[in-house]
C-alpha cells in the first residue's frame, strides 16, 4: 500500500502539473478576475498540495516486510487480462456489431474466469454467451428503443 500510495501521489502531482500548464492556454476574452481559469487553478493547486501531503505521510510509513502476496499478484493479473479483453471488445463493437462482439466477449471472458476444462460448464458458458446478447439486443432495441451498434 505504501509503494502504491507513493506512486499514485506522484502520478497525481505530475498529471495536475500537466493540467496546470494546459490551464494557462485557456482563452479568456472577458479579462474578469473569476474567468474560466480561476477555479481550475484553485482545484489543481489543491490536488497537488494534498497529494504532496499523502506522499509525505507515505514516505514516513515503515516499509512492510512483504508488500504483496502471490494472491494479490494473481488477482491483479486477472484484472489486467479482463481490461485487455474489455478494451478489445469496445474497439470491435462498432466494426462487428453489438451481438457478435458481445458473444465473443462473454465467451472469452467467461472461459478465462472459469479457467478449467469441464465440458458441461464450458458448454453452459458458450450457450449463455450466445443467448444473452441476442436477448439483450432485442429487448433494448425493439422494446426500449435504445440505440445499439
Amino acid at each position: 500500500m505504501r509503494k502504491a500510495d507513493i506512486a499514485t501521489s506522484l502520478t497525481m502531482i505530475c498529471v495536475s502539473g500537466f493540467f496546470l500548464i494546459q490551464t494557462t492556454k485557456i482563452k479568456d476574452a472577458s479579462g474578469a478576475i473569476l474567468g474560466p481559469r480561476f477555479f481550475p487553478y484553485v482545484v489543481l493547486t489543491g490536488i497537488i498540495l494534498l497529494s504532496l501531503l499523502v506522499l509525505f505521510y507515505s514516505c514516513r510509513k515503515e516499509k512492510a516486510s512483504s508488500e504483496e502476496t502471490t494472491l494479490d499478484l494473481q488477482g491483479r493479473a486477472k484484472v489486467f487480462v479482463t481490461l485487455l479483453i474489455a478494451f478489445i471488445y469496445v474497439a470491435l463493437l462498432e466494426k462487428l456489431g453489438f451481438v457478435f462482439a458481445s458473444v465473443l466477449f462473454m465467451s472469452a471472458l467467461g472461459l478465462f474466469f472459469y479457467g478449467k476444462f469441464d465440458k458441461k460448464k464450458v458448454l453452459n458458458i458458450f450457450l449463455f454467451s450466445a443467448v444473452a446478447p441476442v436477448a439483450l439486443f432485442f429487448l433494448f432495441t425493439k422494446f426500449f428503443h435504445t440505440l445499439l451498434p
Binding site: M1, A4, D5, T8, F19, Q22, T23, I26, K27, D28, A29, S30, A32, I33, L34, G35, P36, F39, P40, V43, L44, G46, I47, L50, S51, V54, Y57, G75, K78, V79, T82, L83, A86, F87, Y89, V90, L93, E94, F98, S102, F105, M106, L109, G110, F113, Y114, G115, N124, I125, F128, A132, P133, L136, F140, F144, H145, T146, L147, L148, P149
Partner: protein
C-alpha cells in the same frame, strides 16, 4: 388537487406498475448478490428508462433502490457477507441468528422493518419536499453555491478510511466537471481538440464506470472462490410477534428517524445510517451485551435505518438537485435524460410528475416487501449463480448503458477509463463517492459562485449577509471541522495509550 389526481393516474398506469415491479426484483437480486449494489442496479437500469415515461422510469429506479437496499440482508444472513454496504451492520447479528436456526426470523424481521423504514421516510419526503421546494424558490446563486459547498464537505464525513484521500478524490471530481465549455464565458476548457469533449463528459458513463465497471473489476480479482451458504432447506420469512415489535418501538422509531435525516444530508448514505442507528440501538436496548451474538435489536436497527434513507435521499435530490447519496446521484442522471431538471421549478412546473414519483416510491416499498417475502427461496438460489458468467454479463449491460446515452463509442471508452479509475481509487481507499459528488456539485459550485460575483459586482459580503447562505456555510465548516477534531483527539488518545 388536479396535479395530485394526474400524478396518481400516471402512477397507476400498467407501464409504471410493471416497470416498478421489474426494477424492484432486479434491485433485490443485485442487493442479495455480494459485490453488486443498488447503485449498480440503478446505473444499469438508466438506459432501460430512456423509452419510458418519467414516472415509470423513476418508479423502476426507485424500485431498484428500495429492493437493492433491502435485498442486502439476504446474503448478510445466509453468507455473513453484506450484500450491499448498507447491510454491513445486519451481518453482525443476522448471521449469528441464522447459525442458531433463526434464519427465517432474521430475514422476516429485516423485511418487515425495511418496509416500516421505507414507508416512514416516504411519508417524510411527501411532507417536507413540497415545503422545501417552495422555500427554495427564493434561492439565489449564493444559496445554490453554499448548498453545493455543503454537499462537497460531506465528503469529509463519508471518507471513512482517509479524509485526505477522500478530499483529493472530491477535488478530482470537481476538476473533471470543468472539462468542456465554460457555462459563464463559453470558452472551451481541456477538450484537446476532441469534439466529444466540447460539451464535457456525460454523467452516465462516468457513473456507470465508477460504480459498476470498477466493481466488476474487483470481482474479477476473486472469481473462482466459492461461497458457503448456511443451511436453508425449507427457508421462509418469519415475522416477529407484535409484542416483540412493540417492545422495540423506540429502536424502530429512532432508526427510521436517523435513516431519514442521514438520507436528507447531501452525500451521506445507507451505510452511515445503519452504523449510527446500530450504535444508537445498543444504547436503547435492554440487552446491549447481546449485540453481535444474534440480537434481533441489531437487525431491526440496521435494516430500518438503511431503508429509511431511500425517501430521505430523494428530498435534496428532487427539491434542490443535490443528490442525497450515490444512488440518488445516479437517479439524477435518470431525471436529466427525460429533460427534467430537479429543483424547485420541477415542483412548480410539473407537480403531477412529483406526485407520481411519490406514489411510485410507496408502491416500490410495497413491492419490495411482497417480492422478497414470496420469492425468498428464488433469491437465495440466485446466490449460487456462477460469477464467471455473471461478471461478463454485467460488463455487457454497462456497455449498453454507456452507448445508449448518445450512441457514441466515445462514451463507452469514458466508462472503461472511469472503471479503471474507480477500481484504483477503491483499492487505495480514495473512494468513488467523493469523485461523483465532486463531479456533480463542482460545476454547480463554480457556476453559482461566479454568477453571484458578477450579480453583486464582486461584493463577497453577500455570502455572510444572506442568512440561508451563512447558515449553510457555517454547517459546511462544522462538517469539515468535526472529523478533523475527532481524528486529532483519537490520535492523541492512541499516543497516550502507547
Amino acid at each position: 388537487m388536479t396535479a395530485l389526481i394526474q400524478g396518481l393516474i400516471g402512477a397507476f398506469q400498467p407501464e409504471a406498475i410493471l416497470f416498478t415491479a421489474a426494477g424492484t426484483i432486479l434491485g433485490i437480486i443485485f442487493g442479495a448478490l455480494p459485490g453488486l449494489t443498488s447503485t449498480m442496479a440503478v446505473a444499469l437500469l438508466i438506459p432501460v428508462t430512456f423509452g419510458l415515461s418519467p414516472v415509470a422510469g423513476m418508479g423502476m429506479l426507485m424500485g431498484a433502490f428500495c429492493g437493492g437496499t433491502a435485498g442486502g440482508s439476504i446474503s448478510s444472513t445466509l453468507l455473513r457477507i453484506p450484500g450491499t454496504p448498507a447491510s454491513i451492520c445486519t451481518t453482525f447479528d443476522a448471521y449469528p441468528m441464522a447459525q442458531k436456526g433463526q434464519a427465517g426470523l432474521a430475514l422476516g424481521t429485516s423485511l418487515l422493518v425495511s418496509l416500516i423504514g421505507g414507508l416512514f421516510s416516504a411519508g417524510i419526503l411527501m411532507f417536507i419536499a413540497p415545503k422545501l421546494a417552495r422555500f427554495a424558490l427564493g434561492f439565489g446563486p449564493t444559496e445554490y453555491f453554499s448548498l453545493a459547498v455543503l454537499g462537497l464537505t460531506v465528503i469529509a464525513s463519508v471518507s471513512s478510511k482517509s479524509l485526505l484521500k477522500g478530499v483529493i478524490a472530491g477535488f478530482i471530481g470537481v476538476f473533471i466537471s470543468f472539462i468542456g465549455t465554460d457555462p459563464v464565458t463559453g470558452m472551451v476548457r481541456y477538450s484537446f481538440g476532441i469534439p466529444n469533449l466540447l460539451s464535457g463528459l456525460n454523467l452516465l458513463p462516468v457513473l456507470i464506470g465508477l460504480f459498476a465497471v470498477s466493481k466488476a473489476l474487483e470481482d474479477a480479482e476473486t472469481i473462482g472462490s466459492s461461497v458457503k451458504l448456511t443451511s436453508n432447506k425449507g427457508l421462509k420469512g418469519e415475522f416477529p410477534s407484535f409484542v416483540t415489535l412493540l417492545e422495540r418501538k423506540w429502536i424502530i422509531l429512532s432508526s427510521a428517524v436517523i435513516g431519514t435525516i442521514v438520507g436528507i444530508l447531501p452525500g451521506a448514505g445507507c451505510s452511515i445510517a445503519s452504523f449510527v442507528s446500530y450504535d444508537q440501538a445498543k444504547r436503547l436496548s435492554k440487552t446491549p451485551e447481546e449485540f453481535g451474538k444474534g440480537c434481533i435489536d441489531g437487525v431491526i436497527a440496521s435494516e430500518t435505518s438503511n431503508n429509511a434513507v431511500t425517501g430521505g435521499a430523494l428530498v435534496p435530490m428532487l427539491t434542490l438537485g443535490i443528490p442525497g447519496d450515490s444512488t440518488t446521484a445516479v437517479m439524477l442522471g435518470g431525471l436529466l435524460i427525460h429533460g427534467l431538471r430537479p429543483g424547485p421549478l420541477l415542483f412548480k412546473d410539473t407537480p403531477e410528475i412529483i406526485y407520481g414519483i411519490f406514489a411510485m416510491l410507496l408502491l416500490a416499498n410495497v413491492f419490495m416487501f411482497a417480492f422478497q417475502y414470496f420469492g425468498i427461496r428464488l433469491f437465495v438460489k440466485m446466490l449460487k449463480i456462477p460469477r464467471y458468467m455473471l461478471t461478463p454479463f454485467i460488463l455487457v449491460m454497462c456497455t449498453i448503458g454507456a452507448y445508449g446515452v448518445g450512441g457514441s463509442l466515445f462514451d463507452v471508452f469514458v466508462m472503461m477509463v472511469f472503471g479503471v479509475i474507480g477500481y484504483i481509487f477503491n483499492k487505495l481507499h480514495y473512494g468513488v463517492a467523493p469523485v461523483v459528488l465532486g463531479f456533480i456539485l463542482g460545476g454547480m459550485a463554480e457556476t453559482h459562485f461566479r454568477r453571484a460575483f458578477f450579480m453583486y459586482r464582486g461584493d463577497l459580503g453577500v455570502f455572510v449577509t444572506r442568512p440561508v447562505t451563512l447558515l449553510l456555510l457555517v454547517l459546511s465548516l462544522l462538517l469539515i471541522a468535526i472529523p478533523i477534531i475527532r481524528n486529532h483527539k483519537q490520535s492523541k488518545k492512541n499516543l497516550t495509550a502507547a
